[in-house]
């Protein structure tokens, strides 16, 4: 692999750093090389250097839009909970559903998976491949287990006769949890691919980069879940 050492190119760890060449309104290209790598090591081109940074920027930007989706649903949730037009019938009123106990389980599992992912990422940075392979596999399994926990929680509620349209709270519960699950499945697909690459010992610079980006996404999904969990069952 000619590009196995790409990570040696110095890239600023912050999301927006590496690509921003040149001070604003600078006088000429002479000044602009001071921030970014001006003289490329032999065998490198500009494309190699901006690649990891662009994925990182892209992920942050994508997370901003996902955040906006859940922010707007939160506002809908609060509006419906506090100021929806209501009459005396049960179906129109906001009745908080009782939290299925399985959610504690899935919350714990997801938190744990974030932890193992972080350890896996660090192991990869130190090039301890065996440890990375183990941890990334565990993370994937925990991700699947989380989805299993969510399905169990849905079935628990369904068994009690609480469905999507039963009352506003259950509507939002099913909606928010399934939207979160759909987004999480995207991360899970990436994790499964990475695990396959890891177990077949095919971790190159592209995969290292993908681990970093997926970790970002996964931690975001973890945080998002904690937020939704608190919103749905602890926010009054």
């Amino acid at each position: 692999m000619a590009r196995g050492l790409t990570t040696d190119v110095k890239i600023k760890p912050s999301g927006l750093g590496g690509g921003m060449r040149g001070p604003n309104g600078g006088d000429g290209p002479d000044e602009t090389g001071s921030e970014g790598p001006k003289n490329w090591p032999p065998g490198y081109s500009r494309d190699d250097a901006i690649e990891p940074v662009k994925y990182r920027i892209g992920m942050w930007v994508g997370l901003a839009s996902i955040l906006m989706l859940f922010v707007s649903l939160t506002s809908a949730y609060i509006v419906r909970q506090t100021s929806g037009l209501s009459d005396d019938s049960d179906s129109g009123r906001w009745i908080s559903i009782k939290m299925p106990w399985e959610l504690w389980l899935s919350t714990g599992v997801l938190l744990a998976s974030s932890g193992t992912f972080e350890l896996a990422r660090r192991a990869l940075r130190r090039n301890v491949y065996s440890r990375f392979n183990l941890l990334i596999s565990v993370t994937t399994l925990l991700g699947v287990a989380f989805l299993g926990g969510q399905v169990m929680a849905w079935r628990h509620l369904a068994a009690q006769g609480i469905y999507l349209a039963s009352n506003p709270h259950s509507s939002f519960f099913y909606l928010l949890t399934s939207l979160h699950a759909i987004h999480l499945i995207g991360g899970l697909v990436a994790l499964i691919c990475l695990t396959v690459f890891a177990l077949r010992l095919r971790i190159g610079s592209r995969q290292r980069n993908a681990v970093e980006i997926t970790a970002l996404y996964w931690h975001f999904m973890d945080g998002l879940w904690i937020y939704l969990f608190l919103l749905l069952f602890f926010w009054r």
Partner: protein, 599 residues
């Protein structure tokens, strides 16, 4: 994996174009091909939307008259050859939806932005070419689904709830009227798909602009078009998720019988609603307009950027107040997120809230005025070349002013309340969001056509088209303000049965004739476009003597834009008529020694 030799910086690093028709022109990853695909998608959509508007004007001027051709184009919806109120409402809905989403949102950003953002910043392509293609094909799918909505009901051509799709009518299904069942499902699914496509596009634009700029292309050396596309992308990124959330809620409400939007105890078509209880119809409006207002700027900002660009180019002067222009674009984008309530003054709102929305709305007048005066300052004392793109740009400024002035009326609650549901609003938003943004598309086409297709468009046809269209649109939309002040309600399929509007028919006829005229002269544009594509005179690399990077490369550009050499940028984007320079324009890539006349 084969060993790849990577040349060092400064050497040539070419990307070969893909072989084969399908990879090259259909499922292409090249931002230029995708830009042209977006352009033609918008061209198709604008023609559909135009036909719908002509049919509306036909009904308004000659209500309930029989027209034989209607039986041919709508065999079931207009069986008797007349346009029923239901059919009229579906025309309104589909016209608005197609124009806003598939024309005003796609052409300026997806079309020109895709094609020229990477070139103007000196990149070989967008940051994520595959995502770019995915974004286009999702838009294409969304358009296909929207087209299916035309056939969803027998006596309409789609949903009848307007492009705003207000709940509860949009959530009730067939009970709320024809086209509100399957029609709404297809309509809202299409919008949901469109949201996803726009989000992917916005992500790509932002990353590209932040990360892919060439050496020396600092932020304050970017052409104003790039700033406009960037701000538009940020607006898309933050507003389309909200529409997506609203769309998801609406689909669930429509299909699963939840109660987000539909209040209980309502009678619809004589029947009591039973399965829905306690929802808030205002919630839909909040979500929709939180998207809807930034959407207005998504449509107009690229046109503003392009206007600055073209005015400077043909006035042979730098843009007046470049930094102020950049900050004005930002200010408009930012303020655009806090004014959605001004669409809802009629929906019942606490007066204190309304005052806040009103104040912030009027504040947008400040950056808008900065832009307008800077445009005037740019052409002030310039050696103006009245080319067709320049005429469109001047027309844009004119339309922006005449459409924007009425925004100051409508932004105030006390004036908005009597005018809100009248033709005053129709005239206002068509001038500023519809026609001004369309003029942005015209000027972009005429200005960049030589680069995109390697041939010049006909200047005389372009000028003819400009004058006829400019006169035509003013004849359509200025009288609408008068109709609105007379109290003519919008969305009605006829006004002739309203006694207090008995004076209206001559004006209505005039507007309809103006609309037919304006629609007809668009043929000039279409003919000019296709004729020039094949028969126009060959364009040089820089036919307008402009300064930005797209004019440094061949017309049309090669697959990898700069043929593998990263350009170096030495100066700002609008250095026209620089004292002491050898010619009246200094390209961004020319070092100082090359520019000076004595050197």
């Amino acid at each position: 994996m084969a060993e790849v030799i990577h040349p060092t910086h400064g050497e040539i690093h070419r990307h070969e174009p893909p072989k084969g028709f399908i990879r090259k022109y259909i499922f292409s990853l090249d931002h230029k091909v995708i830009g042209i695909q977006y352009f033609f998608l918008a061209l198709f959509s604008v023609l559909v939307g135009l036909v719908l508007s002509v049919l509306m004007r036909l009904q308004l001027a000659w209500p309930n008259q029989e027209f034989g051709f209607l039986k041919v184009i709508f065999p079931t919806a207009a069986e008797s050859g007349t346009i029923s109120p239901d059919l009229y409402l579906s025309l309104v809905t589909m016209h608005g939806t197609i124009m806003v989403f598939f024309v005003l949102t796609t052409a300026p950003q997806g079309g020109f932005g895709n094609y020229f953002l990477p070139i103007q910043i000196g990149a070989a392509d967008m940051a994520f070419p595959l995502l770019n293609a995915l974004s286009f094909w999702t838009t294409f799918l969304a358009l296909g689904v929207m087209m299916m909505a035309f056939f969803a009901a027998t006596n309409t051509i789609g949903p009848i709830g307007g492009w705003t799709g207000y709940a509860p009518l949009s959530a009730l299904g067939e009970r709320a009227g024809p086209g509100q069942g399957l029609g709404v499902i297809l309509w809202i699914s299409s919008i949901g798909l469109f949201c996803v496509a726009s989000l992917l596009g916005a992500l790509n634009f932002i990353t590209t602009m932040l990360n892919m700029r060439a050496r020396g292309m600092s932020l304050m050396r970017l052409p104003l078009t790039c700033w406009a596309w960037f701000t538009t992308a940020v607006l898309s990124l933050l507003s389309f998720p909200v529409l997506l959330a609203a769309a998801i809620l609406l689909i669930i409400e429509h299909q699963a019988g939840t109660s987000f939007f539909i209040p209980g105890g309502e009678y619809v078509s004589g029947k009591l609603l039973e399965e829905h209880k306690g929802g808030s119809p205002i919630l839909w409006q909040h979500l929709f307009w939180f998207f809807g207002h930034p959407e207005v700027y998504i449509a107009i900002l690229p046109g503003m950027g392009l206007t600055s660009h073209i005015l400077a180019t043909f006035a042979r002067k730098p843009v007046f107040g470049y930094r102020a222009m950049v900050f004005a674009i930002f200010a408009i984008g930012l303020l655009g997120f806090f004014v959605w309530g001004h669409h809802m003054f009629m929906s019942g709102m606490d007066p204190r809230t309304a005052i806040m929305f009103s104040l912030i709305t009027l504040t947008i007048g400040v950056p808008s005025a900065i832009k307008t005066f800077n445009w005037l300052g740019t052409i002030w004392g310039g050696q103006i070349r009245f080319t067709a793109p320049m005429l469109y740009a001047i027309g844009f400024v004119s339309l922006f002013v005449s459409g924007g002035i009425t925004g100051l009326f409508l932004g105030q609650t006390s004036i908005d309340i009597p005018l809100h549901d009248t033709y005053f609003v129709v005239g206002h938003f068509h001038l500023i969001m519809g026609v001004a943004a369309i003029f942005g598309i015209f000027m972009g086409t005429q200005f960049w056509f030589p680069k995109m297709f390697g041939r010049m468009m006909s200047e005389s046809l372009g000028k003819l088209h400009f004058w006829l269209t400019f006169i035509g649109v003013n004849c359509i939309f200025i009288p609408m303000h008068i109709m609105g002040m007379m109290g003519a309600p919008r969305r009605y399929s006829t006004h002739y049965n309203l006694q207090y509007l008995s004076e209206l028919p001559p004006l209505t006829h005039f507007v309809s004739y103006a609309a037919f005229f304006t629609a007809a002269v668009q043929l000039i544009f279409v003919v000019n476009l296709f004729w020039s594509m094949f028969k126009g005179p060959k364009a040089s690399d820089n036919p307008w003597e402009a300064t930005t990077l797209e004019w440094t490369i061949p017309s049309p550009p090669p697959h990898d834009n700069f043929e593998g050499i990263e350009p170096e940028v030495y100066r700002g984007p609008y250095e026209y008529s620089v004292p002491g320079a050898s010619k009246d324009y200094s390209m961004q890539t020319e070092p100082d020694e090359a520019v000076r006349s004595d050197g």
